[in-house]
Symmetry: C2
């Protein structure tokens, strides 16, 4: 496999894992229900993504900063919606 | 900040984002309810984590392989539980 193929796999992987939270946010906005969504999961995940963002800023790593800024926003949205709807 | 401090932040970030799915798996195993959990989210996330794993194998990157193997197992567990409980 060429280097370009490998980079493409990494890019598609990053797009998938970053954007995957969008359908969860949309689902909650529509149903206003979060009973089965784990509060502890999104509390730990949001903390982890914030630390990844700090790590990216320290290393001045733009892709790491951008990817985690998007993920953090989405994870924080689910967390806030969970705290709102219970 | 020293290099050790930066590495520590990255390690804690990785532990948080990888382990965050454990409480969601436990919650579903206890309640047997997944109605509010997004099927599309876990389908995209599982695909993305699988691609990260492939990317790690191509680059022979052990931390990438280990972290994504754990995340993939947990994400796939939520996906299977979602398909089971609906």
């Amino acid at each position: 496999m060429t280097v370009d193929g490998t980079t493409l796999i990494g890019l598609i992987a990053a797009i998938c894992t970053t954007s995957s939270f969008v359908p969860q946010v949309i689902k909650i906005l529509r149903s206003k229900r979060t009973q089965d969504v784990s509060l502890v999961m999104y509390a730990i995940l949001t903390t982890g993504l914030f630390l990844w963002l700090v790590y990216g800023f320290i290393l001045h790593d733009i892709p790491l900063i951008l990817a985690n800024l998007i993920s953090l926003t989405l994870s924080l949205s689910v967390l806030i919606l969970k705290l709102k709807h219970g």
